[in-house]
Amino acid sequence: MDKILTHDAVINNLSSGMTIGVGGWGARRKPMSLIRAICQSDLKDLTLVSYGGPDVGLLCAHKKVKKLIFGFVSLDMIPLEAHFRVSRQNNEIDVMELDEGMVQWGLRAAAMDLPFLPTRVGLGTDVLTHNPELKFVTSPYSDEENLVAMPALNLDVALLHVNKSDEKGNTQIVGPDPFFDELFARAATKTFISSEELVSTQELGGKEGAIFNRFERSLVTGVVHSVFGAHPTSCAPNYGFDMKHLKEYSDAAKSFKEYSSKYMNKTHEEYIDSVGGSEAIKNIPLPQF
């Protein structure tokens, strides 16, 4: 079984109007080479589900987003995501703004093939005011409590970046926090992975390595070998955020042309050279919080 794909082959599996979930968190372990490939494609009118970082901002800057389902969009050390802000402030995108945990609950409902999961979260807030499609459910037990019925966030596709994979889609996330990538994979019809390392099954490290296998290969449709594929976001323990690049990217919200001509419309290898090359990225220290 060989699931190895190119960036272009992944794009050929996507279509306009799809609901796409993006793994990672803020400026951490985002599948950025796949995101750039979408930016450079004809795809449009996407609905995104994300613990958002520059994935959301870059797609907003390229006018690919119809609707964003989110709890936040942030570049971590740069708290506010400038490109996302421009899109919101100019009313260019629809939003379903949710608590972070509601996003998790929606993905989990989808993962469990349930229509919804109940929660108190959202009650007493404008999350309900601005999302009139959210409905309620009354506990059938004696407490009869009225709860939010968080609907399943079913995804057409999940895009995730991992540290290691073999050609069958046995993946490992070795960084300390796997975030919610497992739920994105389970909530999606198809999951495409970009991986720092492509290794043989034997090289996955046996029982010790298997602890880092966060979801099973049957969920994985395709794997792209993408060294430094999370840049400019971090990919612990391999490399940290590229703060200098994130700042340049953030400043480009005022005028995107220069950033775009320097870094966009390139193959992944050309992109890596344009941001300083492999050696430079390898030496970016891990962030400290």
Binding site: G101, D177, Q288
Partner: protein
């Protein structure tokens, strides 16, 4: 030592008292002053508190501000984001946060300012505020007490619930303390209104009234206690040896 005590240090000392009676829960201080305050609480008020390295691990001693050698962190447990959610839904957490707006009901906003459809200022998004405020105790630190933060009417986008919806939280909603650059407050005034507990040195009741967009109760005009010698040593030598705290008020 006492004549050179900074406003940041007064706020840290006052804020650290928030976690005094919490027992063995997760203390999360988000932002400079709340984070140092949570660390001080663990070293003085409540050694049973759990706290993270700011990322994924629970550590036995609070992480000092600024660059540090993380190989010295004494890791005692694991706290991924997924586990933070599990923890907070169970209510075993007390966070101190800095919303952009807060209103007379204790409702907070970190989402957007102005019209929601095309906001004047898009902020972070509601993040975990809806879940935090309905599931566990929170405290608040506001470095710029003004009518722009303590707004007249309701906040533009209610991200964290307030006292007017307290009955929805299964008894778990509480804003324990509000520390600002002017004084210390809580929401235990009449009908859960904001009340002044103490003024920081140099601040007056008029300053507070002029800079708050709604009626507040004045239960006391005492002066906020100064940090103790022990607290000052811990703040200055252990928790923030580089003095990053003093950037918050430009001291």
């Amino acid at each position: 030592m006492s004549d050179s005590i900074s406003l940041a240090e007064i706020c840290i000392s006052a804020a650290s008292k928030a976690w005094k009676d919490d027992g063995e829960i997760l203390a999360t201080g988000i932002g400079l002053i709340p984070r140092i305050a949570a660390g001080l609480a663990k070293l003085t008020q409540n050694p049973d508190l759990m706290m993270t390295d700011g990322e994924t691990y629970l550590i036995s001693e609070p992480a000092p501000m600024g660059k540090r050698d993380v190989s010295y962190d004494q890791v005692e447990g694991y706290m991924s984001y997924s586990r933070v959610f599990d923890n907070l839904w169970g209510g075993k957490r007390h966070a101190m946060v800095t919303p952009t707006q807060i209103d007379c009901f204790g409702q907070t906003n970190i989402s957007a300012i102005g019209d929601y459809t095309s906001p004047k200022v898009q902020l972070l998004g509601v993040r975990g505020f809806p879940g935090n405020f309905i599931n566990h105790k929170n405290s608040i630190f506001i470095p710029n007490h003004s009518v722009k933060t303590f707004v007249n009417g309701e906040v533009d986008m209610v991200s964290g619930m307030g006292y007017k919806n307290k009955q929805l939280s299964n008894g778990k909603f509480e804003i324990k303390v509000v520390v600002t650059n002017l004084g210390v407050f809580d929401f235990n005034g009449t009908d859960n209104s904001l009340q002044l507990l103490s003024l920081h040195p140099g601040a007056s009741v008029d300053d507070v009234k002029l800079n708050t967009g709604f009626e507040i109760s004045i239960s006391s005009e005492t002066i906020t206690p100064m940090p103790s010698e022990e607290e000052l040593i811990l703040i200055r030598e252990v928790l923030d040896p580089q003095g990053i705290r003093n950037s918050i008020f430009g001291e």
